[in-house]
Amino acid sequence: MSKPAALIIGGGIAGIQAALDIADAGFKAYLVEREPSIGGRMAQLDKTFPTLDCSSCILTPKMVDVGRHSNIELMTYCEVVSVEKEEDIFRARVRQKPRYVDMDRCTGCGLCALACRRKDRILHEFDEGIAKRSSIYVPFPQAVPLKYTIDPEACLYLTRGKCGNTFLCKDACPADAIDFEQQETFVDLEVDAVIIATGFDLMDPTLKPEFGYGVYPEVMTGIQFERLSSASGPTMGKILVNGKEPKDVVFIKCVGSRDPHTGVPYCSRVCCMYTAKHAHLVRDRIPDANITVFYIDVRAFGKGYEEFYDRVKHERVRYRRGEPSEVYRRGDRLVVLAEDTMLGRPVEVEADLVVLATAVVPRGDTADVAELLGLERSPDGFFQEANVHLRPVDTVVEGIYLAGCNQSPKDIPDTVAQAKAAAASAMRVLARRRRQST
């Protein structure tokens, strides 16, 4: 009889933590991630609030642990296409998308990407579009697994059937790992529990056109700012806008959140703190910058958060109460127009960089996943837990559990705690299975 096993869908920090707990307890864990690498959103972050640990420093070792754990089967670039429940057993079918790279041969040396005809021409998703990559790529240098993948939507050969006279990538690969013949394959799994850790999306800021996102290059989202300030990002951690250090930086919070007009009536829970962190990072890198944060309420509620907010305020960050009305151009700078509600009058604040704290929203495919697994959704669009108070990670389906931000927005500590909670729920099932089988 096989080892009791759990399927974890999603390889962000929630999925990673849940998989590690289950595997450490001696059960089998299948970790399915649709991107070429695990890591999820947390891998994109620079520092984490309120301790300012760098995100990579605390995440990548966990990723490595996952990659090497004897009880974890890591399935990246894969998607769960169906799940059937038969009594206490879930039968899942997983689609392995073709990487067009032989995983066993690829050494991750990167010569293929350097050679690619479309080098530096494809928008880099991991860097939130502020940098470019090749058609063949790894999402980030610390990826697990560190194996290259050909983007089928960007590759000249895969889209047009021809790539010059010769495959530059193939020629460059010393390991002969590139394989355009690869086809998608399917794997069938039998598991006793399923943990959904599919994460979240960020609201499209063009839904708030008054802020000029997509119009002005000086307006960016919080997650883009993370890549900009990250040492492993395209600017090596230098905060540059149009090649220059911004002197006036404005942060706008609640972009979409607490705003029923955009369909996001709820609070996204993390923006106040990551904005405080961003403000700190600007102060750290550009000591003489003028930093303004526009807010409605400052929600610094976690352990050490209020203290961090106090600290950031002491770092000469100007907190103005009021949600800006619009952003427009004046000369070569931007102007943020808002009512300062403490002054009771409108103010214009000039800016070289405007950072929008965009709302955390459910994944675009939440409805599909809900249907696939027979789950319910709450009015805000996230997955519905069995009971918000006492069963925050359980679902209406026995054996399926929720971890992380697909249930509602969360910061990292709460996500990790919830992922472990989901693991605990799963362990009850797995342990029962093990007792029955021995």
Binding site: D310, H314, R316, V317, R318, R320, M342, L343
Partner: protein, 374 residues
Amino acid sequence: MKTQAMTEQLELYGCIQCGKCTGGCPVARKTTLNIRSLIYYMLVEPELKVDAHEELWDCTSCFTCVERCPKDVRPAELIIALRGQLVEGGRIPETIGAALMGTFRQGNPAGMAREDRSAWTDSREVKAAQDGCDLLYYIGCTPSYDIRAQPITRALARAFTVAGLDFGTLGIEESCCGNEIRRMGEEGLFEMLVEENGEMIRAVGASRMVTVSPHCFNTFKNEYGLDGIDVLHYTQLVAALIEQGKLELANEVNKRVTYHDPCFLGKQNRVYDEPRAILQAIPGVELIEMDRNRERSLCCEGGGGRMWAEGTNLEERLAFQRVQEAADTGAEILAVACPFCLLTLEDAVKVRGLEEQLRVMDIMELVNLSLGEE
């Protein structure tokens, strides 16, 4: 005025605009003074037009705002600093100017002659502290010169003698403590006083010093850096003397008494119990508390230079409200432990026509009664 330097110096950045400062400010209700709003300006605006803020002179420096701030910002210090800007530019009310000048020339804000500083003694023998003593008795300006306050000064001297303390005064060499001077924004003059007085006080070599006024007590205790010298307000010393049995309060004073906590004694230095202990030790005294007592005591509006500046709203005086509250308790005597409170509240009793029912007395006057005929 540019805001940034001062904002940094006073560490206003911690402010979260909760409004507890202005919310508790006793004068905010009657004038346009809004310290919370001023801090916000300092935080978000590059410049502030200080001249436009005449209401800065309304602050009584009761420090309720400082007491209440949850983030350890010291709002009252901003007012003092802004007053400093006004002083520097010479844009100050005439009466304030006179008080500063008087202090500079004669060592007291009233501008009375320095040679008359010992007039309160009424030709009693008082030892010169300069000759060495255990206890330095620092009198202060109002208790030295003001006829209404002098009996307190004398009563204390008598009590110290009865208790057998080896005490002395600085005589006519004593100068203003500078507490009010600093709060009027004249930092330079204040520093000069700190230096001169500090040197003189240290030279005495006493291990303890006692003051009549909580205002003097405050600055000596918290701003002079008199390490090794125990600075006491008289209520602390007298309460201890009673406790130790060195002062026998034999005579009954059969009165209903309520007590008004001076801001500089209570809120700012948390001396709440000793004045009450003294009153309760006086035979016959029935102590009745006003609702707003201790941490919630209402300022009499006599501090922060307000003895020499009328402020922007003369009509509504906090002292009026305060004496009414005292009268409403049914007390016959409103006891105080501060010469400024004594003067402002007594004046309010007169103006409000409450003299029939309420008398304002310093605690020391009551003690003196209980000690009996000299």
